[in-house]
Symmetry: D2
Subunit: 320 residues, 4 copies
């Protein structure tokens, strides 16, 4: 791939390294231009990383010949009423919404390959659906009472100047947030409901802010359906993902740390028996900025352009 | 109180500030001596902070006239068979075990006042029992399916040289540990079972290691008994703790951060409705080294010596 | 002391714990009021913590009978032209400037006791002047070529929402800032010049931002005057501070960590021989928010009110 | 390159991912074997990362046809007496020492290309010599009174279980260490003395431990020789490194953060005027584990094998 244009509004005219100085050494990156200045003639594909609502407007202006992976939340929810409810405004491009393909690559690969507009999943939904969807499809776990206790590094909150994500507010402490009201909830429930054959899934989802830059863990408590054990779940997931490059289901006792995936596109999954009979505990870790965002976006882009799926994603995790 | 003696074995003969240089300014602290060298004649009370098993031996050697607050796990479990099962060896002082009083101060104050040997609770059990015991006693929550997703700062692992708690292993990541096998589990279940009127409580308990020095949060998922709501739980806890200095039950919407209790003896509790009907989410935070260890030890010591309960504990939390 | 009023402008009407929730347990704190609403009749003394320039205006409105410790930079520089040069505007209360006493307690105690308006020192100037002023007064070090390489926790930057102090910008990295242009420089040079008997001192001062909440270290490279050694400097400082509660000069080899002073009003100083002949290295650590700000302010307030100097400041450092 | 063998002693028989679980996804890595079990017949080159002294023994056992990049300190000092003085034992392979080429790539590229045994530089020496050597060669700075105030992330201390690098000892604080006695000093002085045309250079070098995983900054205070300014130094360095991929000399005002190089093989350099006349301040940042260790090792290996110098090193810095 060759980067033909990079856009910004208030920062148009600047070099990318003015905003992200760690990329000063990346000399092949063009100067930022306003979106309106982009010449789409020579462009085959675009990544779109804009605030919600704005995304819908911009997306309507992009020529149909351009393939797009969109990292916003705008095209993830199939039900535009649900979108309006959670995002506080009517959807401005419902016809594009219909076209959009949900880009959880390992679970939706064929549709992604055939798609033009890919809605790249949120970080929490990625970490939750990768382990749960195969199990729900096989009815090995109950669609009821799924409890997700999730933990995320601070980069999940973005880079805008807010007091609550200042270093001194975050360092040396942790807190839950958005208890019962986080916007990733409908996305999670949409995916799990589909996997459960259309039964409405209502999850308990409590995210926590952790004093680290990147990394995400979902600790998931599930009820087993009759006859199944934690070992059965693990085997099923190992079988399901056996040919996948980016999803590793650890052997019995394997305990995924977020450090094991930092800076990489991997998801590591561990499955444990719960002391409460008839339940299992599933641990799923990703780097929220890679498999939870830009890495999966590139994975999807590779697919829609017919390139090797792991191109540009072969970097091993960085430790420490 | 006046510190008459401080003991150590391999470090005997050193100044305390040789080991903890931040106490160089505390000039009224005696040089460390071996336990055998202590003259117990002029000593009214002792704090005991030794490894398990060793504690039992030492405790037998302390004159009965000396009041003791013990910070180890050795006298917390009433059932010595349970002790043997979880700590891998027979209890060496079962008669002392019978005498010991479990020192979760707010829940057991009268017994502590009358006690001679106080078993100071573990950090996780403190954070869990403070919110749950009053609710179980009133049967407002089910004793069944209590799910505790706990998070702790690294100081909970002690100060011994182990690779897994090196800075570079802990910083910038998180992990679960002891899934299904953490030694604080029987202590939690003992307390909750008592509160549930003797019904055997089996909890799901998953602790996580967080990249911060101190602080602990228990995110607890409970089933409500018929007719109760999250608001009812909150009101009950607010009523129960209304005269307590160290337990603050936040108003509706109040979200306890571990930062709010750092360096203090406080416990902050928040109660939320769960999206799964018939359940509530309880957040409980303490400083694992204060209310979860030395602070509660001092609180108990004040009580058994007839001193004001908050003496030496009036320090407000340190932020940031 | 009793807190009669606490002021705020945009936050007037709120409880203090709305802004700093960790103080929810501090029940004796009044609701915030606008400055204009304060009834000064019953007030003996005030702490003033306002932005520069604003401070000068407000200070003029405070009755002369009220003693004030001011934590801003507004009354620290004796030369109002110097103030104008570094702070970009004429001084609005030059007559008050004349009255102000520079509150580096250990170096100026008698003047503080007799003062009404105390200019509380900056954090960097405190960490630098405590070791250097006694040595310059005795001409044991050269006033020339003093090189200060300083490191500070992030709380030194305040609590306003700025991108450069977001968690993800600060964590896992360090950087110098304000190279050659930090506003604490004239304050440092004013103090050192006075100590050098009026000779103009020009220092090299390079502060660095460190990924921690609090703590400050100044690593200072000095030229010895003829006949002096690093050991001589250490002895002189130990003698000078031998009766001081808050300044500890470590014995030979003693290496002050910022952890040794966290949350306390202490300054720890270590003195080392440099490998470059005729030079010494001085390490000086404080908690920038305590001895570098509010702790020293309280120490000064105690003095002007005739209270014991260490009242409210006996808290030992918090570790970890 | 193809990895044919990886060795360990106590860990022989294990998979690499047993020790570094984040490499579980790297499926092309062989199981660890003892050094004695390696079949050198099919091996062209080796990286050697062993403790000092051990390195010398092992190195003697490696066939001469094998090219080696050694990451220990054992072959860095040309003077074996100097080695004995700083490392506390006679050098066991002085003849190999004579053969060894010092691998600071940008400064010694031709010798590296022609070499068989490359002594990969230490992290501090790399960060210091890259900016200073070109300036000393041109006599633009004095070889006298060079003052290096260095700061390093904790990974510089290795991965062995020591109390002083536990998370709780390092987090939320900083300290100097090895003041006047750090083992990287003779390596720095050797390189600078050579650059100064053989004049003996004695530096002041004070390293500090910073609460972060990786990253290193050297803040260097230098005396300018007559007629030179900070701007002249910057221009000279920009000219010297203009064709180098991995060394970026920032434009005037450019302030290198360690974050700008994290996870990459880059060195960023900034040059500032000092307020003390006739001096300049040079800031140099690297990732201590990449350009300061394994990255530069790979860069050297590429050279001795005739491969493109940046092969496997094109990864941009990771932020945050």
């Amino acid at each position: 791939m060759k980067i033909t244009a990079m856009t910004a509004e208030s920062n148009a005219g600047k070099k990318f390294a003015d905003i992200y100085p760690h990329l000063l050494g990346a000399t092949d990156v063009p100067t930022l231009v306003k979106n309106a200045e982009v010449d789409w003639d020579n462009i085959d594909a675009a990544f779109c990383c804009l605030p919600h609502a704005t995304t819908q407007e911009i997306m309507k202006s992009i020529p149909k010949k351009v393939k797009v992976v969109d990292l916003s939340a705008d095209f993830r929810l199939k039900d535009v009423d649900m979108y309006a409810k959670w995002y506080g405004g009517s959807h401005l491009a419902p016809e594009l919404q219909k076209e959009a393909v949900y880009g959880l690559t390992e679970l939706n690969r064929d549709a992604v390959k055939a798609g033009r507009l890919i809605a790249n999943p949120g970080c929490y939904p990625t970490s939750v659906q990768l382990p749960l969807v195969p199990l729900l499809r096989k009815k090995m776990i109950s669609h009821d009472r799924i409890t997700i206790d999730a933990k995320s590094g601070t980069s999940g909150a973005g880079r805008s100047a807010k007091v609550n994500i200042l270093f001194c507010e975050v360092s040396e402490g942790l807190n839950a947030y958005g208890v019962g009201s986080h916007r990733h909830m409908p996305e999670i429930e949409q995916g799990l409901s589909e996997a459960a054959g259309g039964q409405e899934v209502v999850v308990s989802f409590t995210p926590h802010l952790i004093p680290m830059n990147r990394g995400m863990m979902s600790t998931i408590y599930v009820d087993l359906t009759a006859g199944n054990t934690a070992d059965d779940l693990r085997k099923e997931l190992q079988e399901f993902y056996k040919n996948e490059t980016f999803v590793t289901v650890m052997d019995k006792g394997g305990n995924p740390h977020t450090r094991y995936v930092r800076g990489s596109n991997y998801c590591f999954i561990g499955v444990f028996e719960d002391r409460i009979k008839g339940r299992a505990i599933i641990l799923s870790v990703i780097d929220n900025l890679v498999k939870g965002a830009s890495g999966q976006a590139l994975q999807n882009m590779n697919l829609i352009l017919g390139l090797p799926e792991d191109m540009g994603l072969q970097q091993q995790p960085m430790f420490p």
